[in-house]
Amino acid sequence: MLGRQPIGLLFSAPYVAFLLVVFAIPLGFAVWMSFHDFFFTAPGVAVPHPFVGFDNYRAVLSDPAVLSSFAHVGVFMLINVPLTVILALVLAAALNRAIRGRVFLRVAFYVPYVTASVAVVGVWLYLFNSGGLVNKVLGPLAPDPSWLVNSTWAMPLIALFVTWKQLGFFILLYLAALQNIPKELYESAATDGAGTWRTFWSITVPGVRSATGLVVLLAMITGANLFTEPYLFTGGGGPDGASTSPVLLMYQKGILQGNPDVAAAIGVILTVIVLIIGAVNRWISERGER
C-alpha cells in the first residue's frame, strides 16, 4: 500500500511541507493575486479583493517601463549568454589540458562565484566610477558620461559583471562534461590526422552539448532574476531607467508603491517566459541527441 519502506514518507514529510509552504502555495497565490485587486492592509483587516480578470496584465503590458525592462534583460542576455558559453568552454578546455597549477586556477575562477554580489559590486563601483582606475587607464577612450551613469553602457557593464561573477561555476560544469567525453574519440581523431581546431569543433563541442544546454538555460534564468546588480550599480535602474529589470520593477511596484497584484502579474509573465525558454532549450538539446 505505502511501499516497502513506508518510513520514507516520514523522512520526506518535512521537505514536502517546505516545498508546499515556500513554492506551491506562493506560486498559486501569485497567480490568484495577479487576477484580483490586491493591496496591503493592516494585519487582520478583512477587505474584499475583487476579481478583475486581466486588468493587472493589461496594466503591465501597456506600461512602457515594464516593456523596456524586458528589453533590458534581452540586451543583458545577448551579451551575457554567448560570452559565458564561449569563455567557460574555452577556459574549461584549457584547464582540462593544464598540468601545473590546476588547483590554483580552479580556485581563482571560482572565487568570484562564492563571493557576495554586494561585496564585489563595491569594488566594481570603485573601478568603474568616473574617476576610477578603469577610466584613468583608458584616458580619453573612457565613455562620457561614465559607465554606470551612461544609458548606453550601464546595462552592458552589468552583463559583463555577471559574466565575470558566474564564469567559474560554468567552467566547473564544462569541466565535468569534458571528463565524460570518451578518450578513444580523441585517439581516433588523432589517428585520422584531425587538427586541434577540427578536433575541438567535431568532438569537444558536440561532446559537451548537453552541458551547453544547461549553461544557456542557467545563464538565462540568472538574467530573468536580475535584481541586485542594477539596484546597487545604478541606484535602482538609472540612468533614465536604462538598467531596470523586471524583478527590480516588481520590487518598486509591489513593495514600494503598494501594488503587489501588478507585481505578481509581472512575476507570472516572467515565469511563463522562463518556462518557455526552458522547454525550447530542452527541445533543442533532445533533437540534437538523436
Binding site: 511501499g3 518510513i7 520514507g8 514518507l9 523522512f11 520526506s12 518535512p14 521537505y15 509552504v21 515556500v22 506562493p26 497565490f29 501569485a30 493575486m33 490586491f38 496591503f40 494585519p43 569563455l87 584549457a94 593544464a98 598540468i99 590546476r102 588547483v103 586556477l105 580556485v107 572565487v111 568570484p112 562564492v114 563571493t115 557576495a116 554580489s117 554586494v118 561585496a119 564585489v120 563595491g122 569594488v123 566594481w124 563601483l125 570603485y126 573601478l127 566610477n129 582606475l133 587607464v137 565575470w164 564564469l167 560544469l173 569541466l175 571528463q179 587538427g195 530573468a224 532574476n225 541586485t228 539596484y231 546597487l232 541606484g235 524583478v247 516588481m250 503587489p260 507585481a263 522562463v274
Partner: protein, 300 residues
C-alpha cells in the same frame, strides 16, 4: 553539480603524456596557458584591489593606487564602516541566518535524500519530481507572494525565522545527498537489514559516515547561499539590528552619504569583511571538492 565534485579525482589519473606533444600542440599549449593566466588575473584582480582600496587612508584610484603605498595605509576605513554599520551585530545576524539554513538543510536534507535514494515508498516519484521542478522556478518570481505571506500575514519581518524560512531546505543539497546515497552499494543496505537494523540506524551508523564528503560539499554550497543573499533579507528586514551584513552594506552603498572622509574606503572595508568568510571557507575546504573515497566502504 555532483559530477563536478568528482571531476578532479578523475583528472588526476589523466595521462599527462598526451599533453604538449609535437609542435602544433605546443603552440596550443602556450596559447591556452596565456588564456588561463589572463583569466585568473581578471578573476582575482578585483579582490586584490578590494583589499588595497580598503587600506588606503587617502583614496587613490590612479594606477599607482593599485600598489600598496606604505605612507597611505590605514585601518581607519574599517572603523569608519563599523561606526555606520555595527559590524559585529551584522556578522552575528549573517551567522544566525546562515547557521539556521545549514542546520535545517543538513538534518532534513539527509533524511529526504536518503529516502529518495534508498527507500521504496509510495509517492517517491512525486517527491523527486517536485525536487526537480523547484529548481526551475526562480526564487525571485515568488518574492511578492512570499513577502505578503511571511512579512504581512505571518508577521515575520525583522525576524530570523522569516529570513530563514524560504531557504530552510536547499534543494540542490538534497539532490547531492540523494546522488551520494545512490552510489553506495546495495549489498551494504541488504546486509544491514538482514542484521535487523532499522532504517534510522542504517542511515545514522552506516550510510551517513560514508557520505561525509557529500555533507561537506553540501555545507559549502549551502553556506554561500544565505551568507551572500541580498534580496530576501533586504525585503523583510528594516531594523538595522536585524540586518545581515550583505543588507547593511548594500544600504550603506545605496545611501553613500559622504559623511565619512573616504566613502569608497569604507565600502571596500565592509566588502572585505563580507567576502572574507566565504572565500576563506572555500579556499580552506576546496580539496574536499576532490576526494570521494566511496569505494573503500565496500572492498575487502
Amino acid at each position: 553539480m555532483t559530477d563536478t565534485v568528482q571531476e578532479t579525482a578523475v583528472q588526476e589519473n589523466a595521462d599527462p603524456s598526451q599533453v604538449g606533444v609535437g609542435p602544433p600542440k605546443r603552440a596550443l599549449g602556450i596559447l591556452s596557458t596565456v588564456a588561463l593566466v589572463v583569466a585568473a588575473v581578471v578573476s582575482l584582480f578585483p579582490f586584490y584591489y578590494m583589499v588595497v582600496g580598503s587600506l588606503q587612508s587617502e583614496p587613490n584610484s590612479g594606477v599607482s593606487g593599485a600598489f600598496p603605498n606604505p605612507g597611505n595605509l590605514t585601518l581607519g576605513n574599517f572603523s569608519a564602516i563599523d561606526d555606520r554599520i555595527d559590524l559585529v551585530t551584522a556578522l552575528v545576524n549573517s551567522g544566525i541566518f546562515t547557521g539556521g539554513v545549514l542546520l535545517c538543510t543538513l538534518f532534513f536534507g539527509v533524511l529526504v535524500g536518503y529516502a529518495l535514494a534508498r527507500l521504496q515508498f509510495r509517492g517517491r516519484g512525486i517527491v523527486f519530481a517536485m525536487l526537480l521542478l523547484v529548481q526551475v522556478v526562480p526564487f525571485q518570481l515568488l518574492m511578492i507572494p512570499l513577502y505578503v505571506l511571511i512579512a504581512r500575514d505571518y508577521g515575520l519581518s525583522d525576524n530570523y525565522l522569516g529570513m530563514i524560512l524560504p531557504f530552510a531546505i536547499n534543494s540542490t543539497a538534497v539532490f547531492i545527498f540523494r546522488q551520494y546515497f545512490l552510489q553506495l552499494p546495495a549489498e551494504l543496505f541488504d546486509a544491514a537489514r538482514i542484521d535487523g537494523a532499522g532504517e534510522i540506524r542504517t542511515l545514522w551508523s552506516i550510510a551517513l559516515p560514508l557520505v561525509r564528503p557529500a555533507m561537506l560539499t553540501a555545507v559549502l554550497l549551502t553556506f554561500i547561499g544565505p551568507w551572500n543573499e541580498f534580496l530576501w533579507p533586504f525585503l523583510i528586514t528594516k531594523d538595522p539590528a536585524k540586518q545581515p551584513l550583505a543588507v547593511a552594506l548594500a544600504n550603506y552603498i545605496s545611501t553613500v552619504a559622504s559623511s565619512v572622509a573616504n566613502p569608497f574606503g569604507a565600502i571596500l572595508a565592509g566588502a572585505v569583511v563580507l567576502a572574507a568568510p566565504a572565500v576563506a571557507l572555500f579556499i580552506a575546504f576546496q580539496r574536499h571538492f576532490v576526494s570521494t573515497d566511496l569505494g573503500s566502504g565496500v572492498k575487502g
